[in-house]
C-alpha cells in the first residue's frame, strides 16, 4: 500500500510526464526545431546595417544655375569677390550620405522620380536615360540610380534669393513611398541651400528638427532590420509554444487522462501547477536559446530581458491553458489559438514599421512585452524606462493567466 506523497514530488512526476509527452509529439517537436533553427538563420540573413544615404535629383545643374545668376548679380552690384564665392557653393557639403544627381531638364527629373524613365550610371560615370516604353535597351556595365527625391529650382533662383524675392517656387518631387519625414527633411534642405546662396537667414521658418525625428533619435545609428526582427522572432517562439502547450492540454482533456491522474493523490492544483511550470519553462528556454543566437542580451540588460520573457511566457501559457480547455477538437483548438494569437502578433509586426503603432495596438496585451524588448535590445532601455510597460504587462498577465487557469480548472472538474 502506498502513502500520500508530497506535492513537489507529484508536480515533479507530472513535469516528467509532460516532457515525455512533449517529446513524443512529433508535429510540435518538429515545428519547435524548425523555429529554433530557422529563426537565427532568418535573423542573420537580414541586413545588419541601414542604408542611410539619400540620392537627391536636382534641376538645373549647379553650374548652369550659377551661370544664369552671375550676370544678374553683377547688375545688382555684386563685387568680383562675391561672384567668386558662387563657385564655392556645394549643396551637398557637410551632408553625410547625400548624393546629388544633376538633371538636364525638369521633365527628366520628374520622369525618373515617378519611374517612367530610368537613369543608369555607366562605369565611366556617364549618366544614361532609358525609356523602357520607347524600347530603349538597358545599358551594359551600368548601375541604376534611383533618386529618392528631386528638387527643381527656378532658373532665376540664386539671383531671386539674393534680391530678396519671396515668391520663388521650388518644386520638390518625391516617390509615393517616400516617408513624410524625408519629404520634410528635403524641404529643409532646400531652405538650407537657399541660405547658403543668399548668405543670410531667409524669412522662412525652419521646421523644428525634433518634430521630424520619430522615436529615439538614432542619427547615424538607425534600427536595423535585424533589430526590428528580434522581438518578432522571440514572439514566434512564444506563439509556437502556445500551440504546443494547448495541444498537450487539449489531448489530456479530450482523452480524459487527466481524470485518471486526479484519482491518484494528485490534485487539480498540482495538475495546473505542472502545466504552468512546464509551459513557462518551455517557452522561456526556447526564447533564451533564440536570444543566444540572435544576440541582444548584454550584462546590462539581461535581468530586464529575462523578466519580460518570463512574463511573456506565463501570459502565453495562460492562453494555452484557455485554448486547450476550450477546444473540443483539433480544429476548435486551432480556432481559439488563432483568435488569441493573431491579435497578439500585431504589436510584434508593428515594430517592423516604427511609429506605426495605432492606439488600439498599444492596448493589446503583448504590446508592453514587445515595447520593453525593443527598447531594451535596440535602444538600451533600462528598468527605469520599462517599469510602466512592465506594470501594464503584469496586469494583462494576471487577467490572461487566471482566465486560462479558471477555464481549465472548470473543464477538468466537470469531465
Amino acid at each position: 500500500m502506498s502513502r500520500p506523497t508530497s506535492r513537489p514530488a507529484i508536480i515533479r512526476a507530472l513535469l516528467k510526464k509532460e516532457l515525455t509527452a512533449y517529446s513524443r509529439d512529433l508535429v510540435f517537436l518538429g515545428l519547435t526545431l524548425v523555429v529554433l533553427i530557422a529563426a537565427p538563420f532568418l535573423f542573420h540573413a537580414l541586413p545588419d546595417s541601414v542604408d542611410e544615404s539619400i540620392t537627391l535629383g536636382v534641376y538645373p545643374a549647379i553650374p548652369e544655375m550659377i551661370g544664369d545668376a552671375r550676370e544678374a548679380l553683377a547688375e545688382m552690384g555684386a563685387t568680383e569677390e562675391q561672384l567668386a564665392e558662387l563657385d564655392d557653393i556645394d549643396l551637398a557639403a557637410g551632408e553625410e550620405g547625400l548624393e546629388l544627381i544633376e538633371f538636364e531638364s525638369e521633365e527628366r527629373l520628374r520622369g525618373v522620380i515617378e519611374g517612367s524613365l530610368e537613369l543608369w550610371r555607366t562605369e565611366s560615370g556617364e549618366m544614361v536615360y532609358r525609356d523602357k516604353e520607347a524600347g530603349d535597351k538597358k545599358p551594359e556595365d551600368a548601375e541604376r540610380v534611383e533618386p529618392d527625391i528631386g528638387v527643381a529650382f527656378p532658373s532665376d533662383f540664386i539671383a531671386g534669393v539674393a534680391a530678396g524675392k519671396d515668391d520663388l517656387t521650388v518644386t520638390v518631387y518625391s516617390q509615393a513611398g517616400i516617408g513624410e519625414e524625408i519629404q520634410t527633411a528635403m524641404k529643409s534642405f532646400v531652405r538650407e541651400a537657399a541660405y547658403q546662396i543668399a548668405g543670410r537667414e531667409l524669412p522662412v521658418g525652419m521646421p523644428d528638427e525634433d518634430t521630424i525625428v520619430l522615436g529615439d533619435d538614432r542619427m547615424g545609428d538607425q534600427v536595423t532590420m535585424q533589430e526590428r526582427m528580434r522581438p518578432l522572432l522571440l514572439f514566434m517562439v512564444l506563439l509556437m509554444e502556445t500551440f504546443s502547450m494547448a495541444s498537450l492540454v487539449s489531448t489530456e482533456v479530450l482523452q480524459r487522462t487527466v481524470t485518471a491522474v486526479l484519482v491518484t493523490p494528485a490534485k487539480v492544483g498540482d495538475f495546473l501547477a505542472a502545466k504552468t511550470i512546464f509551459g513557462t519553462l518551455m517557452s522561456l528556454s526556447q526564447a533564451l536559446i533564440i536570444l543566444v543566437f540572435i544576440g541582444g542580451v548584454t550584462s546590462a540588460n539581461w535581468s530586464l530581458i529575462l523578466a519580460v520573457l518570463v512574463m511573456g511566457a506565463i501570459m502565453f501559457t495562460g492562453i494555452a491553458l484557455f485554448v486547450g480547455a476550450a477546444g473540443k477538437d483539433f480544429m476548435g483548438q486551432l480556432f481559439y489559438a488563432m483568435l488569441f494569437t493573431i491579435p497578439l502578433l500585431i504589436p510584434a509586426i508593428s515594430v517592423m514599421f516604427p511609429g506605426s503603432a495605432a492606439p488600439w495596438v498599444k492596448a493589446l496585451p503583448s504590446y508592453p512585452i514587445i515595447k520593453v524588448l525593443v527598447e531594451t535590445t535596440a535602444y538600451g532601455g533600462t528598468w527605469g524606462d520599462a517599469w510602466g510597460s512592465l506594470a501594464y504587462a503584469a496586469l494583462w498577465l494576471v487577467v490572461l493567466y487566471f482566465a486560462g487557469l479558471f477555464a481549465l480548472k472548470r473543464k477538468v472538474e466537470t469531465l
Binding site: M1, S2, A21, R24, T264, P265
Partner: protein
C-alpha cells in the same frame, strides 16, 4: 482495518434536474467483490465517481476505508485503484512508462511495473507505446494501472466491456486474485454473466436506485423459478415440456414423463440474473 472497506448511506447525486443516484446505501467488505449490475445510465458510474472523489455527493455519507469521500483526503486516493470505462491512457508513452508515471504519483520509488504487466499478460510489450495496442490490450493496461499501488479498494467500471471471451476471462481471473489478496472490489457491469461469475454479491441498480442486493444465488432463489425441461421424441420431431419444480402436481407429471419411452433428455433450469432484473425493473440490462 476493521469494518467495511466501502460504506454508503443514503447517497444522492444529480446532474442539474436529472437525479442520477437516488438514496442508495450499501457496504463492501475487505476481500469482497460487489457487482453493480444495471443498464447504461442506471447510475453505476456516477456512484463510482462519488466514491473516488471525482464528484461530490449532494447528500448522504460515503466512506471508503473509513475516510469520508467528500473531505478530499489525499490518503483516500493513495489507497484506491480505479479502472475507468474509457481507455484514458497516455497513448504516446510505453506501457511501462504509463505505469511508472502513475506509480510516481503514489510515491512509489521503484515500481515493479513489468511484474504488474506480467499479471495481465503484457510484460513482453512493456516497452511498446500504448497507441500500438489492441482494444483488449489497452483494457488490460487499464486494469494493470489500477493495480500499480496495491490498492485496498478497487473500483472497476465495466472492466471487460466489449472484450473477447479469452481476454475477459483473463481479466476476471486477475480481479479475483486482487480480492483474494484482501482488496475490496466494486465492479460495475451490465454483463450478467460477469456479475454472476465474479461477484460475491450483486446489486441491481436501476434509475439511480438499488432495487436488490444479495448474493447471486440468493437472488435466484428469491426471485427466480426453478424448472425442469424435458425433451421427448414426437414422431419425426422433438417435443419440449417445462415443469415448474415449485408448483403443485409437477412431481407426478415429471415421474410420468421420465417413464415415457419417448424421453430424450431432462435438464434442470434456474432463472438468470438478466431475467430477475427484468422481473424487478421491467427492463433489460442492455437498455
Amino acid at each position: 482495518m476493521t469494518g467495511p472497506a466501502i460504506s454508503v448511506e443514503n447517497l444522492r447525486f444529480s446532474y442539474g434536474d436529472l437525479e442520477a443516484v437516488k438514496d442508495i446505501s450499501f457496504e463492501v467488505q475487505p476481500g469482497e467483490i460487489l457487482g453493480f449490475l444495471g443498464p447504461n445510465g442506471a447510475g453505476k458510474s456516477t456512484t463510482i465517481k462519488m466514491l473516488t472523489g471525482q464528484l461530490t455527493p449532494k447528500s448522504g455519507v460515503a466512506r471508503v476505508l473509513g475516510i469520508d469521500v467528500s473531505t478530499d483526503d489525499p490518503e483516500l486516493q493513495a489507497r484506491i485503484g480505479v479502472c475507468f470505462e474509457e481507455k484514458n491512457l497516455y497513448l504516446n508513452m510505453s506501457a511501462k512508462e504509463n505505469l511508472d508515471f502513475y506509480a510516481s504519483l503514489f510515491g512509489i520509488k521503484e515500481p515493479d511495473s513489468v511484474e504488474v504487466l506480467r499479471r495481465v499478460g503484457l510484460a513482453d510489450r512493456a516497452k511498446d507505446r500504448v497507441k500500438t495496442f489492441s482494444k483488449g490490450m489497452r483494457q488490460r493496461m487499464m486494469i494493470s494501472r489500477a493495480f500499480i499501488n496495491k490498492p485496498d479498494v478497487l473500483f472497476l467500471d465495466e472492466p471487460t466491456d466489449g472484450l473477447d471471451p479469452v481476454t475477459s476471462a483473463s481479466i476476471r481471473k486477475t480481479i479475483r486474485e486482487e480480492a483474494e489478496r484482501g482488496a475490496a472490489v466494486l465492479l460495475t457491469t451490465h454483463d450478467m454473466f460477469e456479475a454472476d461469475e465474479l461477484s460475491d454479491r450483486v446489486a441491481f441498480i436501476n434509475e439511480g436506485q438499488i432495487v436488490a442486493l444479495d448474493t447471486a444465488e440468493n437472488l435466484k432463489l428469491k426471485y427466480g423459478t426453478r424448472s425442469v425441461k424435458v425433451r421427448l421424441r414426437d414422431g419425426d420431431g422433438v417435443r419440449e415440456e417445462v415443469l415448474p419444480l415449485d408448483g403443485d402436481g409437477s412431481s407426478a407429471k415429471l415421474a410420468e414423463l421420465a417413464a415415457s419411452p419417448d424421453l430424450m433428455t431432462i435438464h434442470t433450469e434456474e432463472a438468470t440474473l438478466d431475467q430477475i432484473f427484468i422481473q424487478l425493473t421491467g427492463r433489460g440490462l442492455e437498455g
